[in-house]
Symmetry: C2
Subunit: 798 residues, 2 copies
């Protein structure tokens, strides 16, 4: 069952009823001002850091769910009123439609004779959002309407805001000037910033005190001010500041009227904080409102936003016979990759913006999904990440975006972390050819002399070599990629000798990449040294890591295998099977056997589960993964993130149909038809889908902010389509399903636009032509920036 | 305007309408299982620690406010339904009444032909609460009703529960057995405890999955299960576990029926966690339900609870001509003192249970208010507190009740802290005469050899002497009693030499007490040493601390006075004026001048403000107090806590009318008539009342958990009534208002029951008789435990 449809032309997902199984959200903002917005206008905004600069208050896990957002109430002269976004009044609408586009959301509705359309977006490079409202009277009579806006201000620090009430019920302050509501809590002292909420329209009143608007014990579905049709111009001082405008609209039959609401954030220089004593300096805000008083300016800003996104996405566009594939690659998967770059794991319907900073491991993997879109930002992120490394190569697991300081609470010692930096750097170098990054001087967390980025990469590998266990395999530390496989962390004794096969495989991959890089920059000693270490690791894994039909996952702290036939539960894990192939350590026989075991034991109609059998009992020596109910999360859930690894492995094994089927199974677009089971947005990947051990098998959770996005994009573009950046050029090596006759790709690569046409021709062999010239091999060499080239590839039946 | 009345006979406050200006709460529990409950059944329960063992989920600062609690829905066959506690349905009731008693709350209502009365309480020494429901059909026809219960489980750790959704929407688990809902989240692994929610009645169905009960986007005022009259027996696995019973009640005309709900907490020994694999060991729960199936057992448990409280309160009972005074002393003020002992500052309508542990300073002061009620617990608390002291005498500012470990986040260095321990210890010794506590060995935080409690007290004083500033006055550290006077904490330079006059005064008081104690245990060297240090400090304060009409408050980090005529804002502070008299350093002339200045500049019709003029601008060198809006909190708010200090000082100065007026001004009972202004509960003190600089002058905030309770009780009983424990006996030295002719007190003191009758006889002198025998002086000597004595005091006109 579907709750909407893809509008591929407009790059929008169109939702046709407000009561989707879960709130289906979208993101506003691309630079510093961000928001999440659901299909019924729920959500909140923040400036840069969702925890420390929260602008709107939002109640997670609320009753009713997803209440709190960017709301309007429209009131008729007879006292009847509704919300044009359904929430929070939830009165039945005669028509409802939500269009989630790239960086904007348009919600349209009709109730009685009123049509309303609200376009929410953040104009590029602005630190504010616009709600552009169009009201149309479809009735025969002139109508006098009252429109009420509603937002609730968060007192900036979202954690304090939700815990420290003996303080925060006393600190809320606002000013109101010419209809603009200024939220100035703590401005007098520790802050140099405020929020503003203005409107362009016939403002006849306002509220800033929540209770004045809602009434005692009032609820958002029926505020007293709306019921009674009047505001009291309250000035909040303490308790809960809100922003409410009352706007009179006189609307003749068949006429329309526009109202613009502007909600934003402003920082002042310390020396310009006040105009006169105690009055906040509001310079710039009235003129901003003035500017967007002009509807054309709003239209231009929205167009600019669309151009911004189209420019980004134009760097990779595909036409294949499969519409799921086309829309995921051309729009949604790339868009999701950009969102994971912008937000890391901070703010979604599942991430509260409070718990987590920017993850080291997360961001490095996210980068693989957006490096082709915004290589400059990728460069910056790589340098930021490596500056949270310690001298010995280890790294903070997370850092805060505002301060760029590592989070001491989480700490370091996730032993896979440094290797992801090498793999991400390799992606960057392959995409951009920008080897100058290797010479950038980068500081270390915890002090000491800075070193070049290249040195940071070397130390990442050294870190693994300095942390080997009894089998010569890498120690797992707090956890490897699987955060919930805690083989050392919560053991009662103090052993700390558990080893991770996955980190070993990652070391092989990263070591190989670094050796390659070292050769290019003529550090041949480094290259041969790491080639040697890689060979040793390959041998050890093949000696100690093979279980007969698949690769082990780890050795626990007692030296016992994890992910082996010997185990009662968790006999086989997914991660180490595809990685054995991705890093090249498995020979074809073992590779095929491993991936056959994945298919046999782990593949389900809703995706590949993380391990099997599920853990029914808690094991202290295995940790957190055994704590989840069977079928959820890391306990035999369909963790989506490693599913693309299986796709990549099958492509390497040249088993195109298996790869394709795995892609199709977890692709949100192809799951759209079962939205009542999947329940999350059909346009973005979720972190997890419940596995067969769970009563809600197939139900997704934690959509949007997941490493699944980048790996899914990499698996689809670099391995199924086979268009794969390499140090020397662009490889074209497709592994497409049998029923695809052809496909066409436009791709920018190092400043060059390639139009790539791939055709399958039975009885012929692989052939690569650039601008009509036949090349040997599968790699297009690097051409001069600014040129355009036509690439033709013929696929045989290999 | 009032919203209810005091039922003095039953020791209850009776609320007559549900929509009080703010939720008016009460507390359940006295040992380990606690809850807060509002007059409309809002609130939550927890086991020992409101943060780490939260049983019910509650949304602070919610819309609608105070939604989430212990709810029932009653549904008629025609589909109409209501909540007998008004919330969460909020349908108009034909009758409503809430009786907040000592440890129990009874909410009665009538809707259509149904009368409902619910008694909520925690039976003494049980780890569970009862909701005892009585339904009466006042109509003429037989009625078939459906009763639905509703609670929402918190996933134990209240902070994680409200921030970490990518995890906690996956971990919720329940079991349901014979109608009992077991909340077993995380039981399989890190927990050895579960919650249960059972009912004794004709259970026909249940829900444990929130959405199944509420419906998609459902709200608590209209759950789909109640609207449709049917439950689906859902088993939550992930998302949000709730507890809902559906109970059929067939009620003939004029008949009544009882239903008992039991909500509780259970810990199992690790070796008995499971009965069979994966099934939680539920031993004891069915028999508990069985037991309370008997209505007589419920009645007995409630009687036991009342006896428990009556026994406690019987230790001090008074009859005076003033009914406000009588009810506050006999019931509410003492009850509030017990609650502050139980809860410290953790859980109230304003304290989220997340931010704060047990405060060192708070608990020592709280102790003065309950040491006469539960001296054994006071002893235990003193030893706990001193074990969070460091070797050098400083102390952790807070510690967690479950672990008894200091909170590193807040740390130490609040330089008044150690002195409160000495003052609290003196209170304990004076009340009990139990000098054995001085020899108890107590460890130190941060390690090192344990020392006797007496040594801990010595080090408390040494701490001050080791932390003196440029004037030889005590350094303030992070803050003294006024948490928001941060003279060192947030300065930009690193001076750290700001000095506190208040700590100096406290040192004088504490040093005097310790010298006295030392003499008693014949440590005469210590006594003379501290007497000498006290004299030095007295001289310094009189030299450096006197501003001409009042005492300074402090010297800031630049050596400039704080609370002086020289200042533009904050010229005079309250705290140091009464303390100069309480510690005995002010001579009569300065004492009177200081207190006259308090009256002239700081006293208002709603209480004494903390300083004047309010800070209109933020001052980095004064800190947090300048950050609040003028009139709130430490910025010229009526901070209630130090108001009783003024009462005590006026009593010492023998200015009875001034003392009495101060008492009357902030007494909750005497503010009952202005409940629409005061807005908080009229039966307990609040931390703060807005001062005249604030638009809501007179509005209270942060009721219940405040040191105001103990100081108000001390000021009223020891200083206005003048019945004051001392090392050698019980002093009787009243300072009562002129229009009181007499009063009578029953007081237990060191195992002796005294009946004290005080009469004013003009033209006579003070006279003290015990059992008819005239004594010289004002002190009753210590009699043998178990005896009873009649004390007659004649007051002259001194």
């Amino acid at each position: 069952m579907r709750y909407g449809y893809f509008d591929d032309q407009n790059k929008e997902y169109v939702i046709e009823r407000p009561d989707t199984p879960q709130p289906w959200i979208n993101y506003l903002g691309e630079g510093s001002y961000f928001g999440i917005i659901s299909n019924t206008a729920g959500g909140y905004s923040f400036y840069r850091d969702a925890r420390l600069r929260r602008i709107l208050r939002y109640r997670y896990n609320n009753i009713p769910q997803d209440e709190g957002g960017r709301y309007l109430y429209i009131r008729f002269p007879d006292g009847d009123f509704f919300s044009p976004t359904w929430q929070p009044v939830r009165k039945k609408l005669d028509f409802y439609r939500c269009r989630h586009g790239l960086g904007y959301t348009i919600i349209s509705s009709r109730y009685r004779e009123i049509e309303c359309e609200i376009t929410y977006f953040v104009p590029p490079r602005e630190e504010m959002e616009i709600w552009s409202v169009k009201l149309t009277n479809r009735g025969k009579e002139l109508l006098e309407l009252d429109v009420f806006s509603f937002i609730e201000f968060c007192l900036w620090n979202a954690l304090d805001d939700s815990t420290n009430f003996q303080r925060n019920l006393n600190i809320g302050e606002v000013e109101v000037e010419e209809g603009v509501i200024y939220h100035i809590t703590e401005y007098r002292e520790r802050r140099d910033h405020y929020a503003f909420f203005g409107a362009v329209g016939n403002i006849v009143g306002f509220e800033t005190d929540r209770e004045s608007f809602l009434g005692p014990y009032g609820s958002l579905d029926s505020p007293i001010a709306v019921r009674e049709g009047k505001t009291s111009n309250s000035i909040a001082c303490g308790w809960a500041p809100v922003g409410v405008h009352q706007i009179k609209v006189t609307l003749p039959s068949q006429h329309e009227e526009r109202i613009q609401f502007l909600l934003g954030y402003k920082e002042n220089l310390t020396q310009h904080k006040f105009i006169v004593e105690r009055r906040v300096n509001k310079e710039g805000i009235p003129s901003l409102l003035q500017r967007f008083n002009d509807q054309n300016e709003v239209v231009r800003a929205l167009e600019k936003l669309k151009t911004y996104w189209n420019n980004i996405l134009s760097r990779f566009q595909v036409q294949t016979p499969n519409s799921h594939f086309n829309r995921m690659i051309n729009v949604w998967n790339q868009y999701q990759c950009m969102i994971t770059f912008n937000l890391s794991r901070s703010a979604s319907y599942f991430e509260s913006g409070i718990s987590r900073g920017i993850g080291f491991r997360d961001s490095n993997q996210d980068l693989m999904g957006f490096v082709h879109l915004i290589p400059d930002k990728a460069r910056e992120r790589l340098l930021d990440l490596s500056s949270t490394q310690f001298q010995l190569g280890g790294a903070y697991h997370q850092y805060q975006p505002l301060t760029r300081q590592g989070n001491d609470e989480i700490g370091a010692g996730f032993n896979d972390d440094p290797l992801w930096l090498v793999l991400a750097a390799a992606s960057y170098l392959k995409e951009t050819g920008d080897f100058t990054i290797l010479n950038e001087m980068v500081p270390f967390a915890g002090g000491g002399n800075p070193a070049t980025f290249y040195q940071h990469l070397l130390r990442s590998l050294e870190y693994t070599l300095h942390n080997l266990g009894p089998h010569g395999l890498p120690l797992i530390g707090q956890a490897d990629w699987n955060d919930c496989l805690n083989l050392n962390l919560i053991t009662e004794n103090e052993g700390k000798v558990a080893e991770s096969i996955l980190i070993g495989e990652m070391f092989v991959a990263a070591g190989e990449e670094l050796a390659h890089i070292a050769e290019i920059i003529e550090k041949n000693d480094d290259a041969s040294r790491f080639r040697k270490e890689v060979r040793t690791m390959v041998d050890r894994i093949n000696q100690w890591g093979w279980d007969g039909e698949w690769y082990l996952r780890a050795y626990d702290d007692r030296g016992l295998p994890v992910g082996s036939k010997q185990n009662q539960e968790g006999k086989i894990f997914l991660e180490t099977q595809p990685w054995a192939i991705m890093c090249g350590l498995a020979d074809t026989e073992r590779g095929k056997a491993a991936m056959d075991s994945v298919e046999k034991y782990l593949a389900t109609p809703h995706g590949i589960i993380l391990q099997k059998p599920a853990f029914t009992q808690f094991s202290l020596h295995l940790g957190e993964c055994t704590s989840y109910p069977p079928g959820l999360k890391e306990n035999a859930g369909i963790f989506c993130h490693p599913n693309p690894w299986a796709i990549i492995a099958e492509c390497i094994l040249k088993r195109a149909e298996k790869a394709w089927n795995y892609w199709l199974t977890i692709s949100p677009s192809s799951r759209e038809e079962i939205s009542e089971i999947h329940r999350q947005e059909p346009y973005v990947y979720a972190q997890m889908i419940a596995g067969p051990d769970h009563p809600r098998f197939g139900e997704a959770k934690n959509s949007w902010l997941t490493g699944t996005a980048s790996w899914a994009l990499v698996s689809a573009t670099q391995w199924i389509l086979g268009i794969r950046p390499d140090y020397q050029g662009l490889i074209i090596d497709p592994c497409i399903p049998a029923d695809w006759q052809d496909f066409r790709v436009q791709r920018w690569f190092r400043g060059v636009l390639y139009t790539i046409v791939v055709e399958r021709k039975p009885n012929e062999k692989y052939e690569l032509k650039v601008d009509g010239n036949l090349l040997s091999g599968k790699t297009i060499p690097v051409f001069s920036p600014g040129s355009e080239h036509r690439v033709e590839v013929t696929l045989g039946e290999d």
